[in-house]
Subunit: 173 residues, 3 copies
DNA sequence: TGCGTTCTAGAATATTCGCTT
DNA sequence: GAAGCGAATATTCTAGAACGC
């Protein structure tokens, strides 16, 4: 891949231009993510300069599309492991999530609507099912990890609050 | 059904109280829907008075949950056939959308009841082994997660002990 | 289908508003199509009022997407059999061309070109791919766990530093 | 339980770019 | 300034899913 995705590049530029606008949006302390401090001003002033809209929700949708995660409960702070202040070369590793339904659900949809076809024999059918189970279980694993990650975030948040602005506990990933 | 859903009732009251606030949100001309003219003011001033948040997106989510549709491309105008100015008695017909179980699981259940046929060709056999491996490895992942979860609990416990009765960590983590 | 596609509706409205703008764009004599007389003015003045761009080529792309055909060699005149002056009710019959690429995934693409006996092989092949995907995704899970484990360690380290030599966190967490 | 709040994803349309003819 | 199309990204609207009360 040659250069970062357009959205990613624009997002980085918004943060690079900084200065006075840092009251609206800025990198977090560790440079491992960014915070939209004033969503209204961000939407009205900055979004139209870089994109073809001024909707905060559309901006959020793009962040999620590229795998960013909201990492604070009381701020519009987002992180992506490849999105770091000063590491412009990492940007090109941030890619859109494949909506690859992974061949499988699509196939099942098709066969469920046309069961008469019977193009796959029984053993293959069982294998299909087995793989489907594996996929589902892996999703559950993912959920557990995510949930646990959320726990970690809350713990960090509470710590920062309790210990004041010594935000050494803010997540560094 | 006795009375309208809480959300629906609050939405109606917001519009009923009208007066000066009509510059922020109001019924449309025909009284067949409503327009949020100033989303920022709406979110900051009105939402907290009626709900436990000030997020416009959460408000939108509720509208969709109850079947409202956005009906203009350049305004935040929403309609629901049972939501009309002056027809308060219709409100109780506005209900949450039920999440249908989707055809998908049904299909899997059906095919899972089939017995193993016995005739399995070579490639399918390999696939079976492969799946077994995947299953085992996933178990190991699960163990790691559980172990890590335990670590997190110990950390939280130690924290609440050390920090005294500021049990914010037991509560939130 | 309820209402016309947004693009179609906007196109019709552009022509309805007529008057002085007819020197820029208008219905043809018979009302069976329309002519963009002045592409530059059209792009600069009218497009931004209705769309999120001012590119004539993007406008053309949309026309083609909905099945309009250029029907003159020396003018920007386009026609679609369902797009006629005065017949607003026909607009909803104008739909996008490509219909079902998402409904017909890899499996059906493969099986559509192969006879039944080949289909099983294809499906086994897809199963192989599927297992490969599962393996890869599980690796990603492992990476997430490892990364998270590292975070936990950092948090513990910071805590024991901040809280002094009460190394209960290093020992137990 | 059902409802509300939050974060993320699905799905359809829109915009851009480049290829084919 | 030829015309049309495939594909990738962008924008919009709605829904899924987890969780708390």
């Amino acid at each position: 891949m040659r250069c970062p995705a357009p959205f990613i590049l624009k997002l980085y530029e918004i943060l690079e231009e900084g200065h006075d606008r840092n009251r609206i949006v800025s990198w977090n302390k560790e440079g491992t993510g960014f915070v939209v401090w004033l969503p209204d001003e961000f939407s009205e002033l900055l979004l139209p300069r870089y994109f073809k809209h001024n909707n905060f929700s559309s901006f959020i949708r793009q962040l999620n599309t590229y795998g960013f995660k909201k990492c604070a409960t009381n701020r519009w702070e987002f992180q992506h492991c490849k999105f770091q202040n000063g590491n412009r070369h990492l940007l090109q590793e941030i890619t859109r999530k494949k909506c690859e339904p992974s061949v499988f659900p699509a196939f099942l949809k098709a066969s469920s609507s046309e069961p008469v076809c019977g193009v796959v024999d029984e053993s293959s059918d069982l294998l299909l099912q087995e793989n489907e189970n594996l996929r589902r279980e892996k999703l559950e694993l993912q959920m557990q990890i995510d949930q646990y990650k959320s726990l970690h975030m809350k713990l960090s948040d509470s710590l920062s609050q309790y210990l004041g602005n010594q935000n050494q506990f803010r997540r560094t990933c």
